[in-house]
Symmetry: C2
Subunit: 301 residues, 2 copies
């Protein structure tokens, strides 16, 4: 039986919080420069519809992060029963507002609203989430550059690069193929010259494929599905999963765990992100970075 | 030593010519229906710039194929020194012409013309090549459907399906990551629930990865790079490569070979496409199919 003494822990823990803090300082400094040079600051519109608790907590985190680095946040809180047309006309107003350089519509939207339609109305030059199909197409294609990279995938690569993990020529396995994480992170790794395999719910033997990987990006949304024995010794493990599991010892009644069994994996991997405190902080930092980049294109042109 | 007696040949040879002929008959019948019902036929504009021999031969093949199935072909032959603006204004005319349902600009274009810019001017509803980044983005994304699938990738899947090869849950390896074949065929296989790996010029040990594949799509543009020993017994092999190699025994001085060593591979694979006569005829058939689909959307709406 494995014991849990600290000496068993071999993996370097990738400190997402600290890395995100470094990036946020870099962004804050660039925002100051922009402000001094042009008298303008980047602006991010964060739109939320309804009162889902998780969405509200994400949104308030994003707004707070903006304030910290000097990005002006435009807050739109719309009622649950807002019509699709009203929401779209709000998006159009934000498209037309020259002080707004990024527009984020917090997902999921209520069922009576077509998400694809609404997201498609965001001006591609303000699509800081990077989810517009034109951005995804350019991300996929060799020789084309999207205006924005999706935040979480970009954060995963930032974690690898700031942890000294090289990608070129490595075997990377992405677990999950969502539009938001799995697919775009696979495309990014491919552009960085990894040999990329995408594993998903229809893969009959994920462990066999995952065990070959030098780099694992876990984005399946399955609590602790990836066991220590599935990991090649020394591999870099980026865990995007954020799953709530019951935990009666906590006041809240639950705790957050990743897609990787962290306890087992941290004895095998070369480096690994914790959950929470790994990818999450990077996602927010990359949103700020995208907003800054959008502002630089708009202001400094 | 293996001998070359016919009894060594185990693989089923996938007859691309015959499959393409079946598809062309299906298309011809649909074109007749459309014509009878609406008094209109699909129209494909095939634009060629300059006098490259290979491009001219592809273009005349496409035009001939149109005629055979009753698609009206609009022929634009522009001189090598046509300006980018002139070419773009021709594309705009074709965009505006209601009798044209598909626009194909034969690549490569002369060096003084920006291909990306010109292709980006084609109305996405007439982008029968399926190369517009918006089409590629929708191809990549779950839950989104591109207006057109790129012809060669679509042809590869058609060959698999008409040969009774199931894709779901299979390990597929795509060799090559071009915008025209490798990348979109990988995205298509992923949408069909294969576990997909993309191998490319920066993969240090392609044979190890390829040997795991139930389905191999070879699109590297490297004559006979994939050896028989790289192929898992029984695998389905689709060879997209068309490479000219010197052959003094031929009048032309060369012959065409694929990316797969056909002689060796046909002893190991379960089924395999020959070169020529495999994927090539399907590419043209899929172009006709895309034009028909574009016409159906435009006419029968």
């Amino acid at each position: 039986m494995a014991t849990s003494s600290p000496s068993d822990n071999k993996a370097t823990i990738i400190d997402g919080k600290a890395i995100a803090q470094t990036i946020r300082s870099e962004i804050a400094s660039e925002v100051r420069d922009l402000s001094q040079k042009y008298g303008k600051v980047p602006g991010l519109a964060v739109v939320i519809v309804g009162s889902r608790k998780d969405s509200q907590s994400y949104v308030s985190m994003k707004r707070k992060a903006c304030a910290e680095v000097g990005i002006k946040s435009f807050d739109l809180d719309l009622p649950e029963d807002v019509s699709q047309d009203e929401l779209i006309s709000k998006v159009h107003e934000l498209n037309a507002n020259p002080d707004v350089h990024g527009i984020l519509v917090q997902l999921p939207l209520p069922k009576h609203i077509n998400e694809e339609k609404v997201l498609g109305e965001i001006n591609i030059e303000k699509d800081v989430d990077g989810f517009h199909p034109l951005n995804i197409g350019k991300l996929a294609m060799k020789g084309r550059d999207p205006l924005f990279l999706p935040c979480t995938p970009k954060g995963c690569l930032e974690l690898l690069s700031r942890s000294g993990v090289s990608i070129k020529g490595k075997k990377a396995v992405v677990v999950g193929r969502s539009n938001i994480v799995g697919l775009p992170v696979a495309l990014l790794l491919l552009k960085e010259d990894a040999t990329v395999t995408i594993v998903h719910s229809r893969t009959p033997d994920p462990e066999i494929v995952i065990r070959e990987a030098d780099i694992i990006i876990a984005a399946a949304g399955q609590a602790s599905m990836i066991k220590g024995s599935w990991i090649k010794p020394g591999a870099a493990v980026i865990d995007v999963g954020t799953n709530a599991v019951d935990d009666p010892t906590r006041k809240s009644g639950y705790r957050l765990v990743g897609d990787v069994d962290f306890h087992e994996a941290s004895k095998v991997a070369g480096c690994i992100t914790p959950v929470p405190g790994g990818v999450g902080p990077l996602t927010v930092a990359m949103l700020l970075k995208n907003t800054l980049d959008g502002a630089k294109r708009a202001i400094a042109q």
